[in-house]
Symmetry: C2
Subunit: 210 residues, 2 copies
Protein backbone atom coordinates (compact mmCIF):
# COMPACT_ATOMS: atom_id res chain seq x y z
CA UNK A 1 0.00 0.00 0.00
CA UNK A 2 1.49 3.38 -0.92
CA UNK A 3 1.49 6.24 1.60
CA UNK A 4 -1.35 8.16 -0.05
CA UNK A 5 -3.62 5.15 0.14
CA UNK A 6 -2.57 4.64 3.78
CA UNK A 7 -3.59 8.21 4.59
CA UNK A 8 -6.97 7.66 2.91
CA UNK A 9 -7.57 4.38 4.75
CA UNK A 10 -6.68 6.07 8.06
CA UNK A 11 -9.13 8.88 7.25
CA UNK A 12 -11.90 6.42 6.38
CA UNK A 13 -11.22 4.59 9.63
CA UNK A 14 -11.42 7.77 11.71
CA UNK A 15 -14.58 8.94 9.94
CA UNK A 16 -16.22 5.54 10.50
CA UNK A 17 -15.53 5.66 14.24
CA UNK A 18 -17.13 9.11 14.41
CA UNK A 19 -20.16 8.00 12.40
CA UNK A 20 -20.58 5.03 14.71
CA UNK A 21 -20.51 7.23 17.81
CA UNK A 22 -23.40 9.29 16.41
CA UNK A 23 -25.45 6.14 15.91
CA UNK A 24 -25.17 5.39 12.19
CA UNK A 25 -25.07 1.76 11.05
CA UNK A 26 -24.55 2.09 7.34
CA UNK A 27 -22.29 4.27 5.24
CA UNK A 28 -21.96 5.01 1.54
CA UNK A 29 -18.82 5.58 -0.49
CA UNK A 30 -19.67 9.25 -0.93
CA UNK A 31 -19.88 9.76 2.87
CA UNK A 32 -16.33 8.47 3.24
CA UNK A 33 -15.24 10.41 0.17
CA UNK A 34 -16.37 13.63 1.86
CA UNK A 35 -14.50 12.76 5.05
CA UNK A 36 -11.27 11.89 3.24
CA UNK A 37 -11.36 14.65 0.64
CA UNK A 38 -11.46 12.33 -2.37
CA UNK A 39 -14.06 11.18 -4.89
CA UNK A 40 -16.47 8.31 -4.23
CA UNK A 41 -14.86 6.48 -7.15
CA UNK A 42 -11.53 6.42 -5.29
CA UNK A 43 -13.20 5.07 -2.14
CA UNK A 44 -14.76 2.24 -4.15
CA UNK A 45 -11.45 1.54 -5.90
CA UNK A 46 -9.58 1.43 -2.56
CA UNK A 47 -12.12 -0.97 -1.08
CA UNK A 48 -12.13 -3.16 -4.14
CA UNK A 49 -8.33 -3.33 -3.99
CA UNK A 50 -8.59 -4.37 -0.33
CA UNK A 51 -11.21 -6.96 -1.28
CA UNK A 52 -13.94 -5.21 0.73
CA UNK A 53 -17.35 -5.39 -0.91
CA UNK A 54 -20.54 -3.42 -0.25
CA UNK A 55 -24.06 -4.72 0.14
CA UNK A 56 -26.32 -5.54 -2.78
CA UNK A 57 -28.51 -2.49 -2.16
CA UNK A 58 -25.44 -0.26 -1.86
CA UNK A 59 -23.52 0.98 1.14
CA UNK A 60 -21.41 -0.76 3.74
CA UNK A 61 -22.05 -1.90 7.32
CA UNK A 62 -20.04 0.48 9.52
CA UNK A 63 -19.13 -2.19 12.09
CA UNK A 64 -17.82 -4.54 9.42
CA UNK A 65 -15.84 -1.79 7.72
CA UNK A 66 -14.25 -0.67 11.02
CA UNK A 67 -13.23 -4.23 11.73
CA UNK A 68 -11.79 -4.79 8.23
CA UNK A 69 -9.91 -1.47 8.09
CA UNK A 70 -8.77 -1.85 11.70
CA UNK A 71 -7.10 -5.16 10.81
CA UNK A 72 -5.36 -3.54 7.84
CA UNK A 73 -4.13 -0.68 10.03
CA UNK A 74 -2.98 -3.04 12.78
CA UNK A 75 -5.35 -1.54 15.35
CA UNK A 76 -5.82 -3.23 18.68
CA UNK A 77 -4.90 -1.93 22.09
CA UNK A 78 -4.63 1.86 22.51
CA UNK A 79 -1.21 3.13 21.40
CA UNK A 80 0.87 4.68 24.19
CA UNK A 81 3.22 7.58 23.61
CA UNK A 82 5.03 10.33 25.54
CA UNK A 83 5.85 14.00 25.05
CA UNK A 84 9.38 15.36 25.56
CA UNK A 85 9.37 19.10 26.27
CA UNK A 86 6.41 20.41 28.25
CA UNK A 87 6.38 24.10 27.37
CA UNK A 88 3.27 25.61 25.80
CA UNK A 89 3.19 23.38 22.73
CA UNK A 90 4.02 20.21 24.66
CA UNK A 91 1.41 20.94 27.31
CA UNK A 92 -1.20 21.75 24.69
CA UNK A 93 -0.59 18.34 23.14
CA UNK A 94 -0.71 16.58 26.53
CA UNK A 95 -4.09 18.16 27.26
CA UNK A 96 -5.56 17.68 23.80
CA UNK A 97 -8.48 15.30 24.23
CA UNK A 98 -9.02 14.47 20.56
CA UNK A 99 -6.37 11.74 20.44
CA UNK A 100 -8.31 9.32 22.62
CA UNK A 101 -10.93 8.79 19.92
CA UNK A 102 -8.11 7.72 17.63
CA UNK A 103 -6.80 5.14 20.08
CA UNK A 104 -3.80 7.30 20.97
CA UNK A 105 -2.86 7.73 24.60
CA UNK A 106 -0.28 10.21 25.90
CA UNK A 107 0.83 8.61 29.17
CA UNK A 108 3.58 10.99 30.36
CA UNK A 109 5.49 14.18 29.67
CA UNK A 110 9.18 14.85 30.30
CA UNK A 111 10.96 18.13 30.94
CA UNK A 112 14.13 19.42 32.59
CA UNK A 113 12.37 22.43 34.11
CA UNK A 114 11.60 21.40 37.68
CA UNK A 115 8.72 23.90 37.83
CA UNK A 116 6.89 21.79 35.29
CA UNK A 117 7.45 18.43 36.97
CA UNK A 118 4.27 17.06 38.54
CA UNK A 119 2.92 13.72 39.44
CA UNK A 120 -0.75 14.63 39.77
CA UNK A 121 -2.55 11.31 39.48
CA UNK A 122 -5.59 12.93 37.94
CA UNK A 123 -3.60 14.21 35.00
CA UNK A 124 -0.79 13.08 32.77
CA UNK A 125 2.35 13.10 34.98
CA UNK A 126 5.40 15.12 33.98
CA UNK A 127 8.78 13.65 34.95
CA UNK A 128 12.36 14.89 34.68
CA UNK A 129 14.19 13.74 31.54
CA UNK A 130 16.49 11.62 33.73
CA UNK A 131 13.55 9.22 34.22
CA UNK A 132 12.88 8.89 30.49
CA UNK A 133 14.71 5.64 29.79
CA UNK A 134 13.41 3.81 32.83
CA UNK A 135 9.82 4.94 32.17
CA UNK A 136 9.84 3.98 28.50
CA UNK A 137 11.30 0.55 29.28
CA UNK A 138 8.75 -0.08 32.03
CA UNK A 139 5.80 1.00 29.87
CA UNK A 140 7.14 -0.32 26.58
CA UNK A 141 6.89 3.11 24.95
CA UNK A 142 8.22 3.28 21.40
CA UNK A 143 6.84 6.62 20.18
CA UNK A 144 7.58 10.15 21.40
CA UNK A 145 6.60 13.68 20.42
CA UNK A 146 9.50 16.17 20.59
CA UNK A 147 8.37 19.67 21.59
CA UNK A 148 11.58 21.05 23.10
CA UNK A 149 13.18 24.40 22.19
CA UNK A 150 15.06 24.44 18.89
CA UNK A 151 18.43 24.58 20.66
CA UNK A 152 17.81 21.23 22.42
CA UNK A 153 16.22 19.42 19.48
CA UNK A 154 19.23 17.49 18.18
CA UNK A 155 20.42 16.41 21.66
CA UNK A 156 16.93 15.31 22.64
CA UNK A 157 16.64 13.32 19.43
CA UNK A 158 19.96 11.53 20.02
CA UNK A 159 19.03 10.81 23.64
CA UNK A 160 15.62 9.31 22.98
CA UNK A 161 16.95 7.13 20.15
CA UNK A 162 19.46 5.78 22.71
CA UNK A 163 16.45 5.02 24.93
CA UNK A 164 15.01 2.76 22.26
CA UNK A 165 12.35 5.13 20.87
CA UNK A 166 11.47 4.02 17.34
CA UNK A 167 8.91 6.58 16.19
CA UNK A 168 9.12 10.37 16.53
CA UNK A 169 6.85 13.28 15.77
CA UNK A 170 9.05 16.38 15.78
CA UNK A 171 7.53 19.83 16.39
CA UNK A 172 10.82 21.73 16.52
CA UNK A 173 11.93 23.79 13.50
CA UNK A 174 15.03 21.54 13.15
CA UNK A 175 14.55 18.87 10.48
CA UNK A 176 15.44 15.57 12.16
CA UNK A 177 16.56 12.85 9.83
CA UNK A 178 16.13 9.11 10.38
CA UNK A 179 19.61 7.72 11.04
CA UNK A 180 20.26 4.07 11.91
CA UNK A 181 20.31 3.46 15.67
CA UNK A 182 22.72 1.25 17.66
CA UNK A 183 20.68 -1.85 16.92
CA UNK A 184 20.73 -1.08 13.18
CA UNK A 185 17.04 -0.19 12.90
CA UNK A 186 15.93 3.05 11.24
CA UNK A 187 13.52 5.19 13.26
CA UNK A 188 10.30 6.57 11.75
CA UNK A 189 10.51 10.37 11.94
CA UNK A 190 7.78 12.83 10.93
CA UNK A 191 8.69 16.52 11.05
CA UNK A 192 5.95 19.13 11.50
CA UNK A 193 7.48 22.52 10.79
CA UNK A 194 4.83 25.14 11.45
CA UNK A 195 6.95 28.10 10.33
CA UNK A 196 7.76 26.35 7.07
CA UNK A 197 4.08 25.60 6.41
CA UNK A 198 3.21 29.26 6.94
CA UNK A 199 6.02 30.42 4.67
CA UNK A 200 4.78 28.09 1.95
CA UNK A 201 1.25 29.48 2.29
CA UNK A 202 2.53 33.05 1.87
CA UNK A 203 4.62 31.93 -1.10
CA UNK A 204 1.68 30.22 -2.80
CA UNK A 205 -0.43 33.36 -2.33
CA UNK A 206 2.28 35.49 -3.93
CA UNK A 207 3.00 33.12 -6.76
CA UNK A 208 -0.20 31.17 -7.43
CA UNK A 209 0.16 27.85 -9.23
CA UNK A 210 -0.98 28.04 -12.82
Amino acid sequence: MNSEMLIRITRYYRALNKLRTIGLEKVFAHNLADAAGVSAAIVRKDFSQLNIHGQKRGGYEIIELISALGKILGKGEPENLVVVGCGRIGKALIHYSGFENDGLNIIAGFDNNIDLISDDRNNVPIYPISKFKEFCEQHNVQVAIIAVPESSAQDTYTHILDCNIKGILNFTPITLRPVPTKDGSIPVVHNINIGLELEQIFYELKFPKK
Copy 2:
Protein backbone atom coordinates in the same frame (compact mmCIF):
# COMPACT_ATOMS: atom_id res chain seq x y z
CA MET B 1 9.35 25.61 -9.48
CA ASN B 2 7.78 22.43 -8.07
CA SER B 3 6.73 22.24 -4.42
CA GLU B 4 9.65 20.03 -3.35
CA MET B 5 12.13 22.53 -4.71
CA LEU B 6 10.21 25.34 -3.01
CA ILE B 7 10.51 23.55 0.34
CA ARG B 8 14.26 23.12 -0.21
CA ILE B 9 14.72 26.79 -1.16
CA THR B 10 12.77 27.86 1.93
CA ARG B 11 14.97 25.61 4.07
CA TYR B 12 18.17 27.02 2.54
CA TYR B 13 16.85 30.52 3.15
CA ARG B 14 16.09 29.83 6.82
CA ALA B 15 19.43 28.11 7.36
CA LEU B 16 21.27 31.04 5.79
CA ASN B 17 19.58 33.53 8.10
CA LYS B 18 20.61 31.44 11.10
CA LEU B 19 24.18 31.12 9.86
CA ARG B 20 24.32 34.87 9.37
CA THR B 21 23.13 35.55 12.92
CA ILE B 22 26.02 33.44 14.28
CA GLY B 23 28.50 35.51 12.30
CA LEU B 24 29.35 33.34 9.29
CA GLU B 25 30.03 35.04 5.96
CA LYS B 26 30.50 32.13 3.63
CA VAL B 27 28.67 28.86 3.19
CA PHE B 28 29.26 25.67 1.23
CA ALA B 29 26.77 23.48 -0.58
CA HIS B 30 27.21 20.71 1.97
CA ASN B 31 26.32 23.10 4.86
CA LEU B 32 23.00 23.84 3.21
CA ALA B 33 22.55 20.20 2.29
CA ASP B 34 22.77 19.27 5.99
CA ALA B 35 20.23 21.94 6.91
CA ALA B 36 17.75 20.90 4.22
CA GLY B 37 18.22 17.16 4.53
CA VAL B 38 19.39 16.63 0.95
CA SER B 39 22.73 15.93 -0.78
CA ALA B 40 25.19 18.68 -1.71
CA ALA B 41 24.69 17.70 -5.36
CA ILE B 42 21.00 18.67 -5.11
CA VAL B 43 21.90 22.04 -3.56
CA ARG B 44 24.28 22.75 -6.43
CA LYS B 45 21.72 21.62 -8.99
CA ASP B 46 19.02 23.86 -7.44
CA PHE B 47 21.35 26.87 -7.47
CA SER B 48 22.46 26.21 -11.00
CA GLN B 49 18.81 26.01 -12.10
CA LEU B 50 18.20 29.38 -10.37
CA ASN B 51 21.28 30.77 -12.10
CA ILE B 52 23.12 31.31 -8.80
CA HIS B 53 26.84 30.65 -9.03
CA GLY B 54 29.43 30.13 -6.31
CA GLN B 55 32.87 31.66 -6.00
CA LYS B 56 35.92 30.39 -7.84
CA ARG B 57 37.45 28.96 -4.65
CA GLY B 58 34.17 27.29 -3.73
CA GLY B 59 31.35 28.36 -1.46
CA TYR B 60 28.86 31.20 -1.61
CA GLU B 61 28.65 34.61 0.08
CA ILE B 62 25.82 34.29 2.63
CA ILE B 63 24.58 37.87 2.17
CA GLU B 64 24.35 37.46 -1.60
CA LEU B 65 22.59 34.11 -1.30
CA ILE B 66 20.03 35.49 1.17
CA SER B 67 19.30 38.36 -1.17
CA ALA B 68 18.96 36.10 -4.24
CA LEU B 69 16.78 33.48 -2.52
CA GLY B 70 14.74 36.19 -0.76
CA LYS B 71 13.81 37.65 -4.15
CA ILE B 72 12.78 34.24 -5.43
CA LEU B 73 10.64 33.65 -2.31
CA GLY B 74 9.07 37.12 -2.52
CA LYS B 75 10.41 38.17 0.87
CA GLY B 76 10.15 41.76 1.97
CA GLU B 77 8.13 43.19 4.84
CA PRO B 78 7.25 40.81 7.71
CA GLU B 79 4.16 38.75 6.92
CA ASN B 80 1.20 39.39 9.24
CA LEU B 81 -1.23 36.68 10.24
CA VAL B 82 -3.84 35.94 12.92
CA VAL B 83 -4.93 32.94 14.98
CA VAL B 84 -8.60 31.91 15.26
CA GLY B 85 -9.27 29.85 18.39
CA CYS B 86 -7.17 30.71 21.44
CA GLY B 87 -7.36 27.54 23.51
CA ARG B 88 -4.15 25.76 24.47
CA ILE B 89 -2.93 25.12 20.93
CA GLY B 90 -3.87 28.60 19.67
CA LYS B 91 -2.23 30.29 22.63
CA ALA B 92 0.91 28.18 22.28
CA LEU B 93 1.19 29.37 18.67
CA ILE B 94 0.56 33.00 19.64
CA HIS B 95 3.36 32.87 22.20
CA TYR B 96 5.79 30.91 20.06
CA SER B 97 8.75 33.22 19.48
CA GLY B 98 10.41 31.25 16.69
CA PHE B 99 8.26 32.73 13.91
CA GLU B 100 9.81 36.18 14.13
CA ASN B 101 13.12 34.95 12.75
CA ASP B 102 11.23 33.72 9.71
CA GLY B 103 9.59 37.11 9.07
CA LEU B 104 6.23 35.86 10.34
CA ASN B 105 4.25 38.03 12.72
CA ILE B 106 1.12 36.92 14.59
CA ILE B 107 -0.67 40.23 15.24
CA ALA B 108 -3.92 39.08 16.90
CA GLY B 109 -5.92 36.15 18.18
CA PHE B 110 -9.70 35.66 18.01
CA ASP B 111 -11.98 33.65 20.25
CA ASN B 112 -15.62 33.54 21.32
CA ASN B 113 -14.76 32.76 24.93
CA ILE B 114 -14.90 36.11 26.71
CA ASP B 115 -12.55 34.84 29.42
CA LEU B 116 -9.81 34.72 26.82
CA ILE B 117 -10.42 38.18 25.35
CA SER B 118 -7.65 40.61 26.28
CA ASP B 119 -6.20 43.75 24.87
CA ASP B 120 -2.94 43.76 26.76
CA ARG B 121 -0.73 46.07 24.72
CA ASN B 122 2.40 44.21 25.80
CA ASN B 123 1.18 41.01 24.22
CA VAL B 124 -0.71 39.87 21.17
CA PRO B 125 -4.31 41.05 21.73
CA ILE B 126 -7.20 38.57 21.65
CA TYR B 127 -10.50 39.86 20.25
CA PRO B 128 -13.99 38.37 19.95
CA ILE B 129 -14.68 36.71 16.58
CA SER B 130 -17.22 39.46 15.83
CA LYS B 131 -14.27 41.83 15.29
CA PHE B 132 -12.55 39.49 12.85
CA LYS B 133 -13.69 41.00 9.56
CA GLU B 134 -13.07 44.60 10.58
CA PHE B 135 -9.63 43.79 11.99
CA CYS B 136 -8.47 41.85 8.94
CA GLU B 137 -9.66 44.60 6.60
CA GLN B 138 -7.93 47.30 8.64
CA HIS B 139 -4.66 45.38 8.86
CA ASN B 140 -4.82 43.80 5.43
CA VAL B 141 -4.55 40.28 6.88
CA GLN B 142 -4.81 37.47 4.35
CA VAL B 143 -3.57 34.47 6.33
CA ALA B 144 -5.07 32.80 9.42
CA ILE B 145 -4.29 29.77 11.56
CA ILE B 146 -7.40 27.81 12.61
CA ALA B 147 -7.05 26.23 16.08
CA VAL B 148 -10.71 25.96 17.12
CA PRO B 149 -12.38 22.78 18.45
CA GLU B 150 -13.24 20.19 15.82
CA SER B 151 -16.96 20.95 16.08
CA SER B 152 -16.45 24.59 15.02
CA ALA B 153 -13.89 23.95 12.30
CA GLN B 154 -16.13 23.99 9.25
CA ASP B 155 -18.14 27.07 10.37
CA THR B 156 -14.96 28.96 11.20
CA TYR B 157 -13.52 28.09 7.80
CA THR B 158 -16.62 29.34 5.97
CA HIS B 159 -16.67 32.51 8.05
CA ILE B 160 -13.05 33.51 7.53
CA LEU B 161 -13.24 32.85 3.79
CA ASP B 162 -16.19 35.29 3.76
CA CYS B 163 -13.87 37.78 5.51
CA ASN B 164 -11.46 37.62 2.59
CA ILE B 165 -8.84 35.31 4.13
CA LYS B 166 -6.86 33.67 1.31
CA GLY B 167 -4.41 31.41 3.13
CA ILE B 168 -5.18 29.00 5.98
CA LEU B 169 -3.14 26.71 8.21
CA ASN B 170 -5.63 24.30 9.80
CA PHE B 171 -4.81 22.52 13.08
CA THR B 172 -8.21 20.90 13.59
CA PRO B 173 -8.66 17.19 12.77
CA ILE B 174 -11.23 18.12 10.08
CA THR B 175 -9.68 18.13 6.60
CA LEU B 176 -10.58 21.50 5.08
CA ARG B 177 -10.64 21.59 1.32
CA PRO B 178 -9.93 24.62 -0.86
CA VAL B 179 -13.26 25.63 -2.41
CA PRO B 180 -13.66 28.71 -4.64
CA THR B 181 -14.71 31.80 -2.66
CA LYS B 182 -17.29 34.44 -3.65
CA ASP B 183 -14.76 36.32 -5.76
CA GLY B 184 -13.84 33.14 -7.62
CA SER B 185 -10.37 32.76 -6.10
CA ILE B 186 -9.23 29.47 -4.57
CA PRO B 187 -7.78 29.71 -1.05
CA VAL B 188 -4.46 28.08 -0.12
CA VAL B 189 -5.20 25.56 2.64
CA HIS B 190 -2.62 23.46 4.50
CA ASN B 191 -3.96 20.88 6.95
CA ILE B 192 -1.82 19.73 9.89
CA ASN B 193 -3.48 16.71 11.40
CA ILE B 194 -1.48 15.69 14.46
CA GLY B 195 -3.53 12.57 15.23
CA LEU B 196 -3.16 11.36 11.65
CA GLU B 197 0.62 11.87 11.74
CA LEU B 198 0.84 9.83 14.94
CA GLU B 199 -1.32 7.06 13.49
CA GLN B 200 0.92 6.90 10.44
CA ILE B 201 4.01 6.62 12.65
CA PHE B 202 2.46 3.68 14.54
CA TYR B 203 1.46 2.10 11.24
CA GLU B 204 4.96 2.45 9.78
CA LEU B 205 6.43 0.86 12.91
CA LYS B 206 4.06 -2.09 12.63
CA PHE B 207 4.46 -2.53 8.89
CA PRO B 208 7.94 -1.26 7.98
CA LYS B 209 8.51 -0.26 4.37
CA LYS B 210 10.62 -2.76 2.48
